[in-house]
């Protein structure tokens, strides 16, 4: 599935919710469903320091696509992480770097994009793109 198709799918899923509570309940549910993270990757190397919640992001590169796994100590952040992984994971570096990420705003989580929110969402996306860039330049060498 293309990256944009996934984004559209997420937007559709969130469209059924009428209020904030339901949206956050769903995020929490997504957070719970995040696949277990390899504990050996819980190292400073993979840590993305947000102000209030910590996120570990681990990339794997195989057959031209990047697979991300991640973990956070806060449940809502885990939910957001789960969404990001769903969108970015399994795509080529070029797809990731060329992606226009519009779903966050569309599902009413725009506040989480503010740098003052400090939940690491922005940092997480930036880190995913950095990994993509790194693998791309490796590929080209």
């Amino acid at each position: 599935m293309t990256l944009n198709k996934i984004q559209d799918q997420i937007i559709e899923e969130f469209a059924v919710f009428s209020d904030w509570m339901e949206r956050y309940e769903y995020l929490i549910e997504l957070g719970r469903s995040l696949p277990p993270f390899d504990e050996t990757h819980k190292t400073p190397e993979y840590l993305i320091e947000g102000c209030q919640s910590r996120v570990w992001l681990y990339p794997a590169y195989e057959d031209g696509v990047i697979t991300f796994t991640a973990e956070s100590d806060a449940l809502i952040t885990r939910g957001i992480v789960a969404l990001l992984i769903r969108v970015f994971s399994g795509h080529t570096p070029d797809e990731i770097l060329g992606a226009d990420i519009y779903f966050i705003e569309k599902i009413g989580l725009r506040e989480n994009l503010s740098p003052t929110r400090s939940n690491g969402l922005l940092a997480m996306m930036k880190q995913m793109r950095l990994y993509a860039l790194a693998y791309k330049s490796k590929q080209e060498r």
């Binding site: 209020d19 904030w20 956050y24 209030q52 806060a74 449940l75 809502i76 952040t77």
Partner: protein
Amino acid sequence: MCLVRHTMQLNDIMKLSKSIEEIRSDFPILSTKAYGKPLVYLDNGATTQKPEQVIRVINELYRTTNANVHRGVHYLSDRVSERYEAARETVRAFINAQKKEEIIFTAGTTASINAVAFSFGERFVGKDDEIIISGMEHHANIVPWQMLCQRKSARLKVIPFSDDGILDLESFRGMLTGRTRIVAVAHASNVLGTVNPVREIVREAHSHGIPVLVDGAQAIQHGIVDVTDIGCDFYVFSGHKVYGPNGIGVLYGKEELLNEMPPYQGGGDMVASVTFEKTTYNDLPFRFEAGTTNFTGAIGMAAALDYLSALGRQAVAEREQALLARATAGLSSVGGLRIYGTAPDKVSVISFLIGGLHPYDTGMILDKMGIAVRTGTHCAQPLMERYGITGNIRASIAFYNTDEEIDALVSGVRKTVEMLA
């Protein structure tokens, strides 16, 4: 609460001069809807809301009385200078300082502490000297002293505190040596709410000839602060935490000490004469107020202090204590909830964690219910480390909060637990 009790005055009536409905209508922002729900503002420790009486004064100043202070011979400048100096007198009376010259306007608590750390430090602190702070300080009362220690190769010593959040005065006494140059402690902790025994701390320090700075950022708004009674050498606070505008604060300092200290900022208004060879400095308090001061802020802050005085500061404190007791009882009934800071003497601040729930999750969900609390380390990372946590949730209560709002917090927390646990 000692903060109030030991300085209680007979003419301070115990009843608020207005009903809670009248009080709430003084604060326009309190009728805000957050996500369609009535806003429950419990982040007063971060900043307080402003009454009409303050907003009106600031608005009116810009409309009718705007000119630079102390500089013009003209009508407007005279009028605004007069009001600026009247604001200084209001602050003096509010904290019961002896002289108006001892009140210096700064940008806030942080600016005040930095001013003392720099200026006092320049004059009195040298190699191997010691500075004492407490383990429950806000970063604003840690970092300026660390920077001073670095500049002067001095040492920072930290008073420990108990699990309840009470300073260990025994250790403190043992720390005072011939090398101690200053003690800097919070009047009330921004996380634990503990009201520290500042009078006793001052007495101990003074018996060794050591001056004391009291950080009043979390105390000034909760009752009666009397610097003469406390006996401290410096007392600092921010306007925005006491229902005034932001960007304005106070540095109270004893005249004889301030006179010994070099200015920390150079510029206009702080000088007596300037030539390229030599500059002589102005007298107190102007020596420490370089450049165009925040006179609208100062006059706005004075309006806020007047508002509190008219309401009855003792009554304000008592109402907040009642709300704190209600919050403490309500939150304590939530399974797995731990309150950080259980000293008998507290301002209306209550910090907590629920079981293994992340404070960020709790805060986010409370926010969606329209309840504003603060989550994280509250700029007191060493305190968090002391408890072995990475952060917690803080509800900080003001006199304009209601029983219903406290109950909304408690039921909100319960709902959060249902969602997250």
